[in-house]
Symmetry: C3
């Protein structure tokens, strides 16, 4: 071991408050929830990975290349996307190893980030790595992980069981036949619930490339004619029912803004025809998309799918990179989000509907105290989505609780959502959230704002009850 | 007592910083101010309650039904507004008791909120309740409070004296004859000051329903012809003088935005006539309202009324509920607020006027460090309003001090404002603010940013001097 | 000494976290960096002060009159700008003393502000003052400082050496001949680097008064014809080269917004001609300015000047005061800033250019976590400017680290920038930043988020490496 290699030993009290008295209580609260099963009601793992249960190919393609949380900061540090394996998968062995070196060479740039925290937890907890990665030990660590990945207990299903996941929701295209989900549900050797999620963004926004062709596919999947707006609505309703029948509990929406302005049927029909004909304007496309988010709420009142909204990411910000390497490579940047006026048409129509659960997320933390907590603190349908993406990080999670609890309490929050495509990071992410919530609760007890028994109950509910209740599990 | 009932014993050190050394100093600072008289320069208690001094009807109508801070989160938790007594007052005895049950059944949803904190303080400190409310003890607690409410020492004036309130400002319609205030002032048995506040919103915004009819009433009250803009201005000036003569020290303004764009007299006159005729456009109404906020500043320079601005609440958000149950029932939601450009016309004209005190509040905490602290840190007329409404809560108050002190210090802040219509919550609210400010000061001392003697002086000033100075008391 | 005079003894542990364990580590980290040389890559000291090395005139003109950080809050407290010496320099002796009294009389209004912190450090550390200023000791303190200012070791160069400044960047007009910088560089008795900074705002924004005349001066300085757009661009390129030849490493841009929308050459040329002719519209001026910020990035890719952006101050907010007393007197107020969309055209063109370093500052802290950290965490050209101006303050600096580190780490931040025209405050400002960063790091160690060795390395890098790397020093 090189002289400058540091040990990789995640501390048992990491992320708990440093004050000894508060830490003692936080640890006790955390001990009460640390082993509870993981409920993951929103994420991006592919169901087929669990169905096929094949060996993971190599450390780079498991832990680096597909995870834009990891590749972003490496890119900022001067590593190009191809050097990270992006655009060239599957990776030849020497290339996979070179990608891994990029991570280890730049390990220090992650200091203070949750990515570092998750990777440390994964390397140590799953793969038994005992040294912090660096240029000198990159090969040794690579080989140790690669060796483990050949062992049966590191296949997806074995890890899934080891992670203690009881519910995992995937994110799926409305035309997906959900055969992987069906096969998993039918498999008596696989006990956990793996649920599809209806994600119709690309069918709702006529500004997206390939929108018109997508409607053909939607029509085929639904066996309905999507040549006009009514047929299109019917096809969406049809596919939502198909998802419900296959176990889906939610529909997810990731538009740039959460506006829900209604259009008359005549106007929506007109824009729909224009869009099919390829002659829609940007303003019409926006208007149509906003009308469709309202329509999705209407359908949710009918079919009961929980509606989650993840707005405010300007996708494919650097269009040159996006054109070369495709979406979800790290070139998304948040913008300010307005919720109060945007969501008002929806809430005026359906905000008190008993069937509607609406979980509102944001990348703009200014709306937590100003808009989302007041909304979730009044409307029985509205729940506060916990911190997401750039905000799924220790200090941001603390800011979240401090910003929303005083108006909306704990019962109006969603429970943790990992939203990840990095399969091995799931337990580390849930563990981080549990530690932080327990630390926050311990701080409230220390200031005599909640009692100890109440804190224990809330800590348990945030992990075990809120996600079941909010996501109708 | 059921096995799961927890004791209700607000801790003497609640809300003070948990670090033992800092807490010791915070407690000492707090002990120096805890018993100081309450100055309440902005609130919503009805002066007639104190004049008539009648018994409060029952626990539900005292503590639940009229307080939208309480009813909001109950509504979010699935209790309808009628189930909370809203829209049906006065409540029959069984209905009042049922409302009370709703609160007790849902006690846990308030965990971590200031509403819980205030209610605990009230139940324990005023009514001697010793168990936390729950479904099982709801009747017992109801009866204990109801019993006390029959006793003379729980009449409004007795409580007022017990609370140690030296100044209480109410909020009043410009046409109010202020007879209740006059009678209180003339009553030798009532020593405290109960001051009216001029709140002209509904006369300034032609978009409000009933605006034209309101001008008739304004004209009658002022004995002036409000048939044209000049008469309308004169009537407002007249009523402001009437308020000043009856002890008013401030005028309060609660528009959606704080813009102060001037109109020419000709244009203002034209819009005024259109509005009287019922043909005003939304844009004209906005322009007129903004011009009138500027006019209010001009009048404040003349008559000396402190000008408080409470912008940024989108009122009656759910129009269906608003139509059924009226305003101030919890269906107001904040929006982003811009102050720098909005208030510039006012400050360019009057920002250095020796007679103007302008106290700026916000529901959008992003303006604290960005706009309000820089404004209050330069203009001698501008004061920072302390956290209000959704932000009148422990963590938000800490964020406020941390956001504004570094630019504006302590002398440019208003002192605490309770803004409540929940009479019994007044001492708990002021007590909360005193604890938090003392905790903040103790933290500054612990970091050697202010000295102990200076912290003692500031703690005292925030309670006793700032409100007198800022509100010209 | 009057009975109520408090000692002025800045505590050795000031600003370090109060928890004893965390403070111990923070102090150790701080001890490792406290004596490192000061690198000041952005500020407003005049190079001629160092060249001429004349005695400073008096305490008021050294510490009060020129520093709008100090005069702002005095103005808010009722002291007029003339009473602070503004508009009347050089000050007669009695007037200088009167100005000094204003500061001492109002010493308490600075409690809790960084201005107090800096002044205490300066008075104590540089001038040996041992009592807190107050009305009673104002004369005594004045005389002690005035006396020192007559001594050779209080001349600018002696102080500069005592402060341990190794690099100081000034801010200069593009037509400046930089003779002071050249003379300093040629002086063998002066070893530090004093570098000019290219600040072309008034040449880029046709809405500024005197814009057309300024282009004449620009043309003369460059010996090029600025009668058309191409000549104007060439003149700017010429002057940038001149600055580079005189040691400049950066160009600084302080527009109201950071938009970078391109214009066609034809349209830019057309607006340029209109602006020269004095017939430009406000919208055209904005469009031209935004196009020019993009052009500055293009030039930075060519000549390598680091590009710093300081947007979001609405300058000369109170136009009456601005007309009487000129710019930079405290009448600037921040506005909300949008970066994601604003800077996109620039980043799409040059965001991955190896020659571009783009350092983004803000007065709107909402963009830290939402926009700037995601940008700096993806684009290799983008660096996060540390807190600036109103945000250069202890709590704001902590919010900055907590807001950006989780997405962008430490390597993507700029290192400290003092941005001051108050020469004597430079060491206090850098010292404050070092204390706060060490405190933040100690907190991360206490939560086991970074290791102790790593914290030591980061503390060192933030002072010694980041500014060199980011500013190409």
């Amino acid at each position: 071991m090189p002289a400058d290699t540091a040990p990789l030993m995640p501390h048992p009290d990491r992320l708990l408050p440093p004050d000894p008295g508060i830490r003692r209580l936080a640890r006790e609260l955390y001990d009460g929830v640390r082993e509870l099963p993981i409920i993951s009601p929103h994420g991006h793992v592919d169901a087929r990975v669990l169905l096929d249960d094949e060996l993971f190919p190599n450390p780079a393609e498991l832990l680096v290349t597909p995870d834009h949380y990891v590749t972003r900061l490496l890119h900022a540090s001067g590593v190009t996307l191809p050097e990270l394996g992006i655009g060239g998968q599957p990776l030849a062995p020497d290339r996979a190893r070179a990608v891994w070196h990029r991570l280890c060479d730049n390990w220090s740039v992650f200091a203070g980030t949750p990515v570092r925290y998750w990777l440390e937890s994964e390397l140590s907890g799953i793969f038994g790595i005992i040294d912090e990665p660096c240029a000198a030990n990159a090969d040794a660590i690579y080989e140790q992980i690669a060796d483990r990945l050949q062992q049966p207990e590191f296949r997806p299903r074995a890890l899934f069981a080891r992670f203690g996941i009881s519910v995992l929701a995937t994110t799926d295209d409305p035309v997906d036949d959900l055969s992987a989900h069906a096969a998993l549900a039918a498999d008596p050797t696989f006990e956990a619930r793996v649920l599809p999620t209806f994600r119709p963004d690309r069918y709702l926004d006529p500004a997206r490339p390939g929108w018109a062709a997508a409607q053909d596919g939607l029509g085929r999947a639904a066996d309905l004619d999507t040549g006009d707006y009514q047929g299109y609505l019917a096809a969406l309703e049809n596919r939502r029912r198909y998802f419900v029948e296959h176990g889906a509990v939610s529909a997810d929406h990731g538009h740039i803004d959460p506006r829900t302005d209604p259009l008359s049927t005549a106007e929506a029909s007109r824009i729909y025809r224009s869009a099919l004909a390829g002659s829609v304007t940007a303003a019409e496309a926006d208007a149509f998309r906003r009308n469709m988010l309202l329509e999705m709420a209407r359908m949710s009142c009918d079919d009961g799918l929980v509606m989650t909204v993840h707005p405010g990411a300007l996708r494919d910000y650097e269009s040159g990179l996006a054109a070369r390497f495709g979406p979800d490579r790290g070139h998304d940047i948040p913008v300010a989000t307005e919720y109060t006026r945007a969501i008002r048409p929806l809430l005026e129509r359906y905000g008190n509907h008993p069937n509607l659960h609406l979980v509102l997320f944001t990348l703009d933390e200014t709306v937590w105290s100003r808009e989302l907590a007041p909304l979730a603190g009044f409307f029985p349908s509205v729940y506060l989505g916990v911190p997401w993406w750039f905000l799924d990080a220790p200090d941001a999670i603390r800011r979240f609780r401090a910003a929303v609890t005083e108006t909306a309490g704990f019962t109006r929050t969603s429970g943790f959502i990992d939203d990840t495509r990095a399969f091995c990071s799931i337990p580390a992410r849930h563990d981080m959230a549990r530690r932080l919530d327990c630390g926050y609760l311990a701080g409230l007890v220390a200031e005599h704002r909640v009692g100890e028994d109440e804190a224990r109950r809330i800590a348990h509910d945030l992990v075990a009850e809120n996600p079941r209740r909010v996501f109708k599990l």
